[in-house]
Homo-oligomer: 352 residues x 5
């Protein structure tokens, strides 16, 4: 239960940095990419101090911090860049809702990076915070490994507009990459739904119901990660921040469209999963009906016949039929006739 950790913080002073994620003793990784249209420096550093020379230069600096469980580092970050304590609190609170905070000279954008963990076969909701200043982007991640490699590649190759468009464009590129990766995730989920859809008709087992419910719940969680994103990007597009110029806003509008598309997909999947539940329930009903028909046919055919056999098994002294030579074969004929008549009747009722 994700909630458990959020409750740890109750009653603390605001701005108290409390890492609510999984405890880790892994080392924090700081990676710098500093570039202008002509040059690009990329290196891994040990401390924030090593970053500061780059931030004063007239270049764009991307500081990527992996591992946010080191509170001293986060505090140092706050001091160096003059960030509000509440921003730092939000950044380390890995259960935070996606949100946008606009502090005139910097923006803080909190997003969820969603991807399928291949080994655990579960969906990872990793929190990524982006802090955008006029000439730098600071990205903070929970775990190693991210989806930003194509952006790094584009930076290194000087491919596209990216090297000449400033820090806001870099922030856009990172957000865009995160959002584009949602499509990968939903592709996987879409396949799962298609498989379920076939099974629900061919073999409606109770486990399938469980799987449908699990997917429905997953959808609820994904929705919570994506819905606020819509508002965030919409707020950025409205151009209220001086950090976002028209040249970036036109691209953000594109991300906005993608967000809408993802929300559409989520709603569609939810509708489809609800539809599958209806099919499942009616499949169970149908199966029960089939069972009932078998029982009814057997009973309807053999109960009367057994009655007839019972009649001629009685021990009355005076039963004229018993003495007749052809009585026994006649009775067989009668019973077969009843059987055939019943079968025809069932056929006419379309039970066979």
């Amino acid at each position: 239960m994700r909630l458990k950790r959020a409750a740890k913080k109750a009653g603390q002073s605001p701005g108290t940095l409390t890492y609510v994620g999984v405890e880790k003793d892994q080392k924090v990784k700081i990676q710098i990419i500093d570039y202008d249209p002509n040059e690009l420096v990329e290196k891994e550093v040990d401390s924030l101090d090593a970053c500061m020379p780059y931030t004063v230069k007239n270049t764009v600096t991307w500081i990527n911090i992996t591992g946010i469980h080191n509170m001293e580092l986060i505090e140092a970050l706050g001091r160096q860049f003059g960030l509000h304590p509440l921003v730092l609190e939000d950044v380390v609170n890995t259960e935070h809702r996606p949100k946008l905070d606009d502090f005139e000279d910097y923006l803080c954008i909190i997003l969820k990076m969603l991807y399928t963990d291949v080994r655990k076969k579960s969906i990872v909701h990793e929190q990524v915070s982006l802090i955008l200043t006029p000439r730098a982007v600071i990205s903070l991640q929970e775990f190693e490994g991210d989806v930003f490699d194509p952006v790094r590649e584009r930076l290194r190759k000087g491919k596209g507009r990216i090297r000449s468009q400033g820090a806001a464009y870099l922030a856009y590129a990172l957000i865009d990459t995160i959002v584009d990766n949602y499509f990968h995730l939903f592709e996987d989920i879409g396949e799962k739904i298609e498989i379920l859809q076939e099974q629900v008709i061919s073999a409606p087992q109770p486990q399938i119901l469980q799987q449908i419910q699990d997917l429905k719940r997953e959808m609820i969680f994904l929705r919570k990660s994506v819905w606020p994103l819509r508002e965030i990007i919409s707020a950025m597009v409205r151009g209220e921040s001086s950090l976002l110029k028209e040249n970036v806003i036109v691209y953000l509008r594109d991300v906005y469209d993608h967000t809408i598309q993802i929300i559409d997909i989520i709603e569609t999947y939810r509708d489809m999963l609800s539809g599958m539940l209806d099919i499942y329930l009616s499949s169970v009903s149908n199966k029960m009906n089939e069972t009932m028909k078998v029982l009814t046919m057997i009973a309807t055919i053999f109960i009367p016949l057994t009655f007839l056999a019972g009649v001629y098994g009685m021990n009355f002294k005076y039963m004229p039929e018993l003495e007749l030579k052809w009585a026994y074969p006649m009775l067989w004929i009668l019973m077969i006739a009843i059987f055939v008549a019943m079968m025809r009747w069932f056929k006419r009722k379309k039970w066979l």
Copy 2:
């Protein structure tokens, strides 16, 4: 799964042209219709360059491009008309949501052309992009064959206002034709629903449930194609673009009404399909009830009779009834009496 292709693009530089549709090696077709109230030139050309002379003349030029998988052509188009790279990206992304982009000197409108593929008996969602400049309309389609023939006819015959009303009116005429064709589509679906509605009562088979669900899902997809259209045309009607003058807006308001009407139809169909699901489920229940009644009647009549026959089949030495001469016929009379009483009881319970 349509989604699969959208995911191809993740992490790419924005404005990268990626055709996500079906791969094709078919040749791209470019058709020009250039007209003013007095004259009309119509021809098929090989390259965009052949179009450019017309665009500088004081006439309205309609450039219709079929096949958007040729990236060089799209890039050339962008260069010639000064289109934003994101517009080009959207145009070739055939999974794009319908949208309107207003770039002061041109408008980009992305729509879905919906029609039933007669051979595959499935609904085709073809993307059509319209680029409206002050004196030209560029329409981009995915596949050969479209619904624009009546517009071409009206242009050729100089019928109606169309020849004298400028490029915006032509764009309107194309949008209007696309929207009007939705009605054809929904007429087909309406017929399917009516047929299902009869079957669901007369013969509630599990396949019908499947068909209802398929139609429901189809409705979800159609809704996604039509809903955004409402916003797009509403935005055009609000008259924020200088390309759309009052003389065209009055017609767009008409298209807006049609869009509302189509959305109404979709909602009505959804309600009707939900209602059919209820009927289906209750039909299954009713059938089960019928089966149960048959079983219960047979069992209720013959189990007691069989018991009676069993009693007189016992081998006790001292059973006075067995010796009586009229015992056997008397028992028959009793059993028939029981049978008749039961039948009456069932009749009174309205089971027969």
Copy 3:
């Protein structure tokens, strides 16, 4: 399917007059009532030309046209009163959604006149268009017979304010009469619902489910006719048109209240019909339960007894009970005791 006809128009030039209603060769009827506070002239004329003299006088003229399948007449109307081609197109498109078009010097209001066709026992959705100019009201209807007789009566008698309040007041009076008649319609439907409500409990037949669904669908259609009306009258009340003065707006506000009330009624009926569906389904379940109880009681009583009879019907050589003199009556006593015990058990379980 109403939709079918709307599709006829796809691809046509806008403003093309296409009558989509039932083809008719009935003659068109034009009725004029021209009045001022002192005088009233009422007559039936053959052509529009006969109306024109009245429209130039300083009186209010009501031109009521029944039958809109005569395209020449409609075109003449457009020419005489300077109406926009799209208005004419909407007027003859009998499947149009209720709407209000404001063209500065005239208003076009499209409404649905709803009433029960006594012979066919179905609800008629007849389209009525009102064109309001400063000194005239033109009403266009599909079929003969309307609900306007009380208005005509009030005009003739000079009763109430109607003779002295101008054309806008007349338009209001017509709309008010149409809306007031909706109440009659919903009264009929309310009675149907009450009858169904009694049947669904006393005799839950599959036909009732069908009737519930039919009513639900009817509600969907009625809703589509009434909902837009709310917006239309609300727009009129906001007083944006110079044709509607404060003296009329106060009355329109009253009509607005009635529209809200009708929408309330529709929503209430929808809720009630949904509730009936729940009752129906649970009634079916209950009935099945009753059937099951009968079967179970019969089986539970007689199967053990039959087993006992079967035991003493066995042919073992050494069965001491068979030789005993009181064995047979003892067995009867035992079987009756089992029967009584079972019956008591069922009574305790409240099955009897």
Copy 4:
């Protein structure tokens, strides 16, 4: 069906006074309370004329009229106080939706007074109209008996602010009393729901379903009476009328809070009633399941045993078992063993 009466009015001239309530020949009662901080006069008068002297004095006058079926009186009222004909029409139309009409120099507020009729055990929806002028409040009720006695008491005793705060405060006090009385009503309904909730688990009878549906429908009607109230009081609080000064608005805000609370209660009850329906349906399912288990146990135990008995009741000449001395007791042992095994199996399946 309340609707029936509303339809009476269709086609009439607006402002025609039509009493749509129950016909009554009871005498109309007019009660006056005229007060200022120092003095209070309270009397019952025969005609409106007797009220007029009070209204010109510099005091607050409360005219309470019970019985609105006397059209002459209502018309006189309209004349004396200069009320718009539509206001009078609304006041006598007892099926009117709660509403607020602001006519600059007076306000008309239409409310529903809800209370349980102790004898009929049904909820009464009585319409109360308040007309607020600068120095008078006119209240119009349908039936004798109201909830205003505490207000009268406070006036007589000069308790609280009421005597010194003007007519608007009196109007507020009346509205407040009506709204406070809703709580009494919902208390009663809450108790009914609690009783049902216990019954639905202990004894799920079809009548309970009916009662749940009745309460649900009652909720729909109550909702229609309370929802518009929210808008009305919200409009009054916004302070658009010059009759409502800040000193009264602060109290109206309090009434607004209560209205919200009542709407909350209605929504909560609706949710609870829906939940009960689910419990009911699943209780029925559970009961059916229990019935099925009894049948299956009996059949599963005795059908195989009866088969065994049948086998040894056969008349084959050569059946070695029949001759054995211990065959009969051995068979009994076998049958008891089968019985015990079955019982254990059922216990393991948790059917017992």
Copy 5:
């Protein structure tokens, strides 16, 4: 039923103080914490008079009153701080909806403090009212014991910003603590839901349905406590009150985010509980299906065999089979063959 008490007040003069909570004769407790950045005085006093000297000093004073059933005290409070009578009425009405009242020189904030009563295992909804003046916060609680201890600790230790930020910051700290405690509550509920979720699949008992419904209802009540909070804090954040400066608003925005997160959790839990209901219902259906299968298998196997046994139990004189030596063993072989065939058929149908 909480509602019962709210109804007590109907018809009373507004501002009449009526304590609607549980009657108590417990003594009221008044606790003062008076501080500035340098000093802190904390003591418990007997009467309000003892508080007044602190409020005139240039320090921040927190007056915490536990027990609001003493009407004289509340009235004295109103007099001393010049509070509006309606504020006092709301404060003592413990069933009040959370709300914010802005009276220029003071704010009144009514909240619900939610926590699990460990002994009764039920959720306590305690009302807390905060009155914020420029230099004081008055908090009023119903019962002893609250969640404010961490705030008191921070005040005493001078930890964080709290000592230097004025009264508004203290009010924020109290609200924040209350909201943070909601997370604890929802953690408990989350655990209950998880346990239920496991049970509903493994052992779908009717009691579980009851528990699901109870939790659903609890959710409805919690929702009513939390939803209005969102509006309240949103109103405070909009900064319309001069008492809330930008330095506090930035923190309130943080509380706002938490409120949204809690609302998200509530909606998620509601969805999950609805999903569990579906699983429960389908589990019952599945169980019934299993029961039916057992019955059908037993009946289908043994009814035909019993019939065969019955046939050879008949007493016809001429039945050639009876005389044959191998007839009896042959019949056994036939019966076993039928049994095996049936079992295979069931296996193919996946019933075994």
